[in-house]
Amino acid sequence: MNYHWNWRIFWELSPDATGTYLDLLLSGLAWTLATSACAWIIALLLGAIVGVLRTLPSRALARASGAYVEVFRNVPLLVQLFLWFFVLPELVPPRMGLWLKQLPDAPFYTAVVGLGLFMSARVAEQVRAGVTALPRGQRMAATALGLTTTQAYRHVLLPMAFRIILPPLTSEFLNTIKNSSVALTIGLMELTAQARSMQEFSFQVFEAFTAATLLYLAVNILVVLAGRLLERAVAVPGYVGGR
């Protein structure tokens, strides 16, 4: 291979004069983490609500929440981000559209909302699976104790369901981090985007991508470890993962 390797490139100054190339990549990592974390909060909240709605006896609610999941699952994330970024400002009243377009850090907010909603459909499916996986006796026991439906979900069903689905939720969070890279198409300067701009400035393409790869791997390992610690911390004795 006649490729000129130069691993010291990371300590050279980047042309935007804000620091070294390493700083460039680390700022990308920070945007990746911030976007994923905020999107994950939206995904968890909405996913829990929609997932619960899918398990309620009401036909209408089940159908509406089912439609929600189908819409967000069957359109590619990239297309969804384009809809939020390019299409939404045109469909709302002109003054609001202008405000949306002029928002500072618009790519960040768009990515958070778009990614959050996209992932919420997946979280909803996990929550539904978790609630339906519970023995029927749990719901019956809660009813026999005189709990209302809300109380049964709040104190009996959801605490157990979330413990069951903790491992798949960890991997959905990893997917959120990976998917945040799609937001480079709407101009979010996250890790992959910064690796790409480092490649464009310095021509050291393989060094830049290797560094980005290692950073993603490190984040993955940390999240997996944190997930395991969390599983162990919340395990109920006698149940999944408990002792």
Binding site: F82, N179, Q199, L217
Partner: protein
């Protein structure tokens, strides 16, 4: 707002979108699924084999691919494939690789990691008695795999494989970052040429939705039939 919605731009461009764009998307999906399944099955077998080192290598590859964002992998291979081609063909300089070839190599190698995990689950779901029975019939281990284990594993994993193919179909939209003319790429080109982003992106979303939704409904029907057959 919707009063200015220009149906004409869709009427003018839908033939181009479907004939050029959707064909590209579907071809890439089909070829990458085939390649990914072949390579993924090999990886799964390698991972479950009792040979030294091989399971470690296959496992490492699968885990590496699965922890990276597809966008980053697309960029990796876009720059790496010319050098790989040079190394394989022994030519003097990095070879020229077209966008489609680059995307096909990327999606095949990337999806292989996901198909490998599906096939691994499929192979492990076959009762051990099947293997013992095949061995008792005097089959070599390669034939046990070829005639007994893999056919059943493929069959059991068919719904999951198809679901993964739907995911792949949606993921091919990411070739946008290489400016290729897939369904979204074609829509985006028309959108920017005619200044009709709203119409074109909504239309693209609708096409993706209809195909993915119909396909996932089909998978569900298949799943139900298989459950009855068992």
């Amino acid at each position: 707002m919707l009063a200015q919605f220009d149906f004409d731009v869709i009427a003018r461009s839908w033939v181009y979108l479907l004939r050029d764009g959707l064909t590209f998307t579907l071809t890439l999906t089909a070829l990458a699924t085939l390649g990914g399944m072949v390579l993924g099955t090999l990886l799964a077998v390698a991972r479950l084999s009792r040979l030294p080192v091989l399971p470690l290598l296959a496992g490492g590859y699968v885990n590496l691919m699965r922890s990276l964002p597809l966008v980053l992998v697309i960029f990796w291979f876009y720059f790496l494939v010319p050098f790989l081609g040079q190394w394989l063909t022994g030519s003097e300089r990095p070879i020229q690789v077209g966008g489609f070839t680059s995307a096909l190599v990327t999606f095949t190698l990337f999806e292989a990691a996901y198909f490998a995990e599906i096939m691994r689950a499929g192979i492990q779901s076959i009762p051990r008695g099947q293997v013992f029975a095949a061995q008792a019939l005097g089959l070599r281990s390669s034939r046990v795999l070829r005639y007994v284990v893999l056919p059943q594993a493929f069959r059991n994993m068919l719904p999951v494989t198809l679901t993964q193919t739907i995911v792949l179909f949606q993921d091919t939209s990411l070739v946008y970052v290489l400016s290729l003319t897939d369904l979204l790429g074609a829509a985006s080109k028309v959108a920017h040429r005619d200044g009709r982003l709203v119409e074109m992106y909504l239309f693209a979303a609708l096409v993706y939705f209809i195909i993915s939704f119909a396909a996932s409904r089909g998978v569900r029907v298949l799943q139900r039939r298989m459950a009855i057959a068992d």
